[in-house]
Amino acid sequence: MEYEVVIGLEIHAELKTATKMFCGCKNEFGAKPNTLVCPVCLGMPGALPVMNMAAVEYAVRAGLAMNCKISSFSKMDRKNYFYPDLPKAYQISQYDLPLCTDGHVEIDVNGKYKRIGIERIHLEEDAGKLIHDAIDHGSLVDYNRCGVPLIEIVSRPDISSPEDARIFLETVKTILEYTGVSDCKMQEGSLRADVNLSVRRPGEPMGTRTEMKNINSLHAVQRAAQAEAKRQAAVIRSGGRVIQETRRWDDARKESFPLRSKEEAMDYRFMPEPDLVPLVIGQEWLEEIRRSIPELALSRVKRYIDDLGIPRYDAHLITQSRFLADMFETAAAACGNPKLVSNWIMTDILRRINEDKDFLAASGLDGQNLGRVMLLLDKGEITPNSAKEILDILAREGGDPDAITEKKGMRVQRDQNLIARAVEEVIAQNPKAAADYRAGKEKSFSFLMGKAMAALKGRADPVQVRELLLRRLKE
């Protein structure tokens, strides 16, 4: 491509607190309109905001997880503008003293590690929701979401391709999920991204950038960036100039449109919030928050690849959710064969999760019992079919893998005599098939093998059965 792309993302993530940022109203999605409201979040006269400690801690946690400096002194500001979803006509946000600055996030682009700078992370409140098509000649406003705590993560323009933009957002999403800061449900709007993008010829200074707002899926970010890079390159190629503007990405039409540009640039008239006092994060508090951060996904990916020999692709899939990664690690430790466990997660467990995204949360399966099933399998105590069956039972009702194995009689049959007897019976009952095989018809062997395994109820070691069957047929 003759143009380089320069991308920066602004990511808004709703924090997973129990209550809103400045009042005790519940932070919940999907409640009936205007049921989670009070004088504070409706901006009623005389009501005052009181900051939620958890919101501060979550924001700091996100900052630490993204290698930021945590400001020892920070404050809240009013950002003033009129819109029906903003009851006070100002958003309580952070202007010149954000909570977190100067961090970075490492991303893995097909095995190549890149570092994306984080300029700042600040704390602010979400707005309400406008409902457009419910009534004629008007819009409705629901303030349930109003005042839900948000962090805004502003990256540096370090992203050099639409794919990297998607991977960066995915990485940030995983970090926020691992740290428990946000549930990152993009379809519910709890994670959304603005894409700032410009193009330039290699070696030239930065081009004029445009901003695309509120994109709410990982792939839409990549598609929007691709389309915008193409559009800007075309504008320049045809001798035009890219103008600095805000655009709306329509993911269905795969196109972006310029938004009505205001005559004057927005003047937010920032002012320190007089109702709230400054935040001072001391060393002790900071360390306490630091201790609450688990090992993050990319660190685990590297460890799985280097120490456990797991393929990169598998390592990424397994670490996509902290719950699954924790499960893998517990199971791998219990079984001693991480590769076997990862193979089973990649096939069996992920299939179950794909069928039902809440599968893990609802099932009786956990790292411990998965590990023990894998151990039985690894030692040849059960067959793969039995393993699957035990996992089904565990998923349904939980239980002890060894007890299930015994109760169901699933332990693999190793008695040479018993297997020999079964093989002889099968040959005796199917003389035609045996004769066909001996006459060189290979296909008949599979038939006889199937019969023998069925006679053993599938619980014999197939290798052993195969060996005995071959020997008898050749006699």
């Binding site: 009936k32 900051m51 819009s139 509120n214």
Partner: protein
């Protein structure tokens, strides 16, 4: 004078105040007088004085993350002039954010 009126129009737009011509003229005059008086501020040396936004020496006034609902929802919604389906009504807005 025209410059003052232009400024007043610009500020009024930011503050979402619709002004009559007469108000515009009056506020332009007042702004001119008041700003004239306050010009002296600019000449004052304030080096070494940090902006003082708060008089209370407090930090970290925080609340626990525990839900506490407001009982009187009807009392809240009842304050609005136009409510339909438990929602506040505004003229149609094109979502341009």
């Amino acid at each position: 004078m025209e410059a003052d009126r232009k400024l007043v129009r610009k500020i009024a737009a930011l503050a979402m105040l619709g002004l009559s011509g007469e108000e515009e003229a009056e506020f332009a005059r007042d702004l001119n007088i008041i700003m004239g008086y306050m010009n002296r501020l600019a000449e004052t040396n304030t080096d070494g004085f940090e902006p003082m936004e708060h008089v209370v020496p407090l930090i970290n006034v925080l609340r626990q993350d525990i839900p506490e609902g407001f009982g009187d929802r009807n009392g809240l919604i009842g304050c609005a002039a136009d409510v339909r389906d438990d929602c506040y009504v505004v003229p149609s807005v094109v979502d341009d954010l």
